[in-house]
């Protein structure tokens, strides 16, 4: 089956081509939806078979490379269309195809009746293909195709409602910010390629070859530069500080898109990339520290913004940014397995949350439409008490919220706790660990708070929706709720495959599974690790308990503020108006970027055009022309137009010239 790994991205490609080229003619939504969903579902089947085959192999043999066709060969440079199957990419393809299939299914219901239904499915399939290329890519360039491809699809899908200006702006912003990241990725790639090539004559961008040559890489130095560049790429794709502002705006796209692209898969590409090249990243302690700090900072920064948003999807978007911060924190402290694990559980519960919110929005929209009202269907201030009308949505949503908040027994707990523990106990960052842990813990508290705030505002309390349309609110159809239930179930139990050793009930399958991928990284890390004074079981239990307490505190505050004492939030905002305004306006980051980059660029461009191009260069050119014209204006008087004058000057000239030659 491994030989047929190329089928995994191929099926979505076929789906894309069919829907994209013929979708307009097909018109039948059921057929289009079925094609799209089947395409990705077939990939899921193939992925399952690949996974089973991989499980059947012994751990050290679980690396398989498949060259489909040669792509760019020039000089030293060689890049094939090659796929790499190893435990890490297995996890990723399972997540992408699995969650992808569910979201495709969900979209059939959610996008029902939308103009350009076929377009949506075509893009969605294209996205899946790109994402699968990204995770299966056997060299950096194939990964880069996927890397840019998902950016493109994100652009297309965010701009799906292209007639809305905000959607167009958001799409462009997403693409450009991603491009900034891609710039970093490229430079990183160049640096690594050039350094290995020129110093050791290993001209390669192939992951396995780089891995084999990774012992040649020095600690720090050029590796720091390369990995920092890669990390810039990761921040762009995964919405980390400083390139995170596009993700909340990306919520302009349809909700399934937010679930698939901006929660479960694409945004985790950065994390995956670091995992894929863990053996390079670990060689630079500086980069690892930067990643950890940026991850932690993003986690808390986005979490604070999340507390003040009223748009249900924006809250989730900031939550995503924050959770991605956790993943980067995990990567930065060398807990690659934990990071990937969180990536997977996050895919489950965040997809579920987004789809749940989509279900809510769908219902709200429907109801408002029936009542001919134009209230914002996404504003939580218009919701409330929905749990009675939408029980399934509520239940799955609640499960996922508990999971993300880190309550024991749910998937999010295992992964997040592992990350926090590693942040505290990792051997790489010395005293910085306390800070990392503390930041992570506070971010977790905020997470619990804003997520439950969201649940309380949406599902509990009085129904604030216009009473006229209240009776129109009802549960979404099965095609929407089935994916919700599946994902809710996964959010509930998904964590058990990666249970911490400490608890000892189950072996940590997940970590064992990924071990062959990351063991080299651990080996390299040992070179500068200082072995832990922290690692005692009691401490681990204590910290675990602490993080649970923190989560409960967050939930408690949310419960007090948004169910029991509903005047509290108002009193709070009145007490700190400027703080609230700053948080509400996302700390004015967008404005800062506009001020610092966008506007200067535009005015500089304007200056170059009007000032330099037109005035200076054309000025010189036209000036030369002007001088010539001026002189010719003088000389034209010699051209009297009278023939005899010409004859005279000619004769005179002849006589003089002849005379010169005769008498010289």
């Amino acid at each position: 089956m491994l030989d047929y790994v190329w089928l995994i991205p191929f099926f979505p490609l076929v789906g894309f081509l069919i829907n994209g080229l013929l979708g307009k003619k097909i018109k039948n939504e059921a057929v289009i939806g079925a094609i799209g969903t089947l395409a990705i579902f077939s990939s899921f089947i193939v992925s399952c078979m690949v996974l089973l085959e991989m499980i059947g192999l012994s751990p050290e043999n679980r690396v398989f490379e498949k060259v489909v066709f040669p792509w760019i060969h020039s000089g030293n440079f060689k890049a094939d269309m090659a796929f790499l199957v190893d435990p890490l990419s297995c996890v990723m393809i399972m997540v992408v195809t699995g969650v992808g299939s569910l979201i495709h299914l969900y979209s059939i219901g959610y996008m029902h009746g939308e103009e350009g239904f076929y377009r949506f499915f075509a893009y969605l399939n294209l996205f899946c293909m790109s994402m699968l290329l990204l995770v299966l890519g056997g060299n950096m360039l194939v990964m880069f195709i996927g890397w840019e491809g998902v950016g493109l699809c994100s652009y297309l899908l965010i701009g799906y409602y292209f007639h809305k200006k905000s959607a167009g702006d958001a799409a462009k912003k997403a693409f450009v910010m991603n491009r900034v990241g891609d710039f970093g990725f490229l430079i990183g790639l160049f640096t690594l390629y050039w350094w290995l090539g020129s110093n050791h004559n290993i001209w390669t961008i192939n992951f396995t070859e780089i891995k084999a040559a990774s012992h040649l890489l020095p600690y720090g130095g050029v590796v720091t530069i390369a990995t920092l560049c890669f990390f810039v790429g990761a921040t762009g794709k995964s919405a980390q500080i400083p390139l995170f502002t596009w993700l909340p705006d990306a919520m302009e796209g349809p909700t399934p898109v937010s679930a698939l692209i901006h929660a479960a898969t694409m945004v985790t590409a950065g994390v995956y990339m670091i995992g894929r090249m863990s053996f390079v990243f670990i060689k630079s302690p500086e980069t690892m520290m930067v990643i950890a700090v940026v991850g932690a900072a993003t986690a808390i920064f986005a979490a604070t913004i999340g507390t003040a948003q009223n748009d249900i999807k924006r809250v989730l978007a900031y939550s995503t940014v924050s959770q991605l911060g956790f993943m980067f924190l995990a990567m930065g402290v060398g807990a690659f397995g934990a990071g990937i694990f969180h990536l997977m559980t996050h895919a489950f519960f965040k997809a579920c949350l987004f789809l749940g919110s989509g279900s809510v929005i769908h219902a709200m929209h429907h109801a408002l439409h029936k009542g001919h009202l134009h209230d914002d269907a996404q504003d939580m201030r218009n919701m409330g008490g929905l749990r009675k009308a939408m029980p399934i949505t509520f239940l799955t949503f609640l499960v996922s919220t508990i999971a993300i908040s880190g309550i024991p027994g749910f998937s999010g707990f295992f992964s997040k706790d592992e990350i926090l523990w590693q942040a505290f106990a990792n051997p790489y960052h010395g005293n910085l660990n306390y800070f990392l842990w503390a930041t992570g813990a506070i971010a977790a508290c905020f997470t619990a708070f804003y997520m439950f705030r969201l649940v309380f505002m949406t599902f509990f309390g009085e129904c604030r929706i216009n009473s006229k349309v209240k009776e129109h609110l009802h549960e979404s159809p099965l095609v929407i709720t089935i994916p919700l239930m599946v994902l809710g179930f996964l959010a509930l139990i998904g964590g058990y495959i990666g249970m911490p050793k400490l608890m000892g009930m189950l072996p940590n399958y997940f970590e064992h599974w990924l071990d062959p991928v990351f063991e080299l990284a651990t080996e390299y890390g040992a070179a500068y690790a200082h072995h832990g004074e922290h690692s005692s079981h009691a401490l681990e239990w204590g910290l675990m308990f602490g993080s649970v307490v923190i989560a409960v505190i967050g939930i408690g505050i949310a419960a007090t503020m948004y169910t029991k004492n509903s005047t509290l939030p108002k009193r709070f905002t009145d007490a700190f108006p400027s703080l609230h305004r700053a948080v509400y306006n996302k700390w004015y980051i967008d404005e800062l970027y506009d001020f610092a980059f966008v506007n200067p660029c535009k005015s500089f461009g304007q200056f170059l055009w009007k000032g330099f191009d037109v005035l200076v260069i054309d000025g010189v050119v036209n000036g030369v022309a002007g001088v010539v014209m001026g002189f010719s204006g003088i000389f034209r008087y010699m051209q009297s137009g009278l023939i005899s004058n010409y004859a005279w000057s000619m004769a005179f000239g002849v006589v003089v010239m002849l005379g010169y030659y005769v008498f010289k």
Partner: protein, 167 residues
């Protein structure tokens, strides 16, 4: 004898040439010019080139001069009453004089190549000038000769188109 003849012809040629320039009436100029052309034809005969002399008479003194005279009569221009500016005449004469000096210096100071061609007066007399010219023209210079015909054709068409008031 021949030198004397040459001098007389030269005198006629120069005088008639001066008349061409000085005559007020273009018809007179034209007639003087014909005389000059005849003198030149005479020179050609003296230079053992009777064919050239014949062509000179036919083409120049005949065709071209007839054309000119016709044109003059066709346009019927009255004799220019306004006298031409004297400074122009003076200046023109000076320039002409210098041209003469220049050329004369070239003629006298210049070194003429030693006769290298095969032809002498006897050979020309023996074979006939016309035949010699004909051979030359239709062998070595065949292509230019043919191209001349195109030139003439173009000139004819051009002349017709130019002279017609409306095409």
């Amino acid at each position: 004898m021949e030198t004397l003849f040459f001098l007389i012809i030269s005198l006629v040629a120069i005088v008639s040439a001066i008349l061409v320039v000085t005559c007020r009436n273009p018809i007179n100029s034209a007639l003087s010019l014909i005389l000059t052309f005849f003198c030149l034809a005479t020179y050609y005969v003296m230079l053992d080139a009777p064919f050239m002399a014949a062509v000179q008479v036919m083409v120049y003194a005949g065709a071209i001069m007839v054309l000119i005279v016709f044109t003059i009569m066709l346009l019927n221009i009255r004799v220019n009453a306004s006298k031409s500016q004297s400074h122009k005449i003076v200046l023109g004469t000076i320039i002409g004089f210098f041209t003469l000096i220049n050329t004369a210096v070239i003629v006298f100071k210049g070194r003429v190549a030693i006769p290298s061609g095969p032809l002498t007066g006897e050979i020309i007399k023996q074979q006939g000038h016309t035949e010699l010219i004909g051979r030359e023209m239709f062998t070595t210079f065949l292509l230019p000769f043919e191209i001349t015909s195109i030139l003439l054709l173009v000139a004819i068409i051009g002349a017709v188109i130019l002279a017609k008031k409306k095409i």
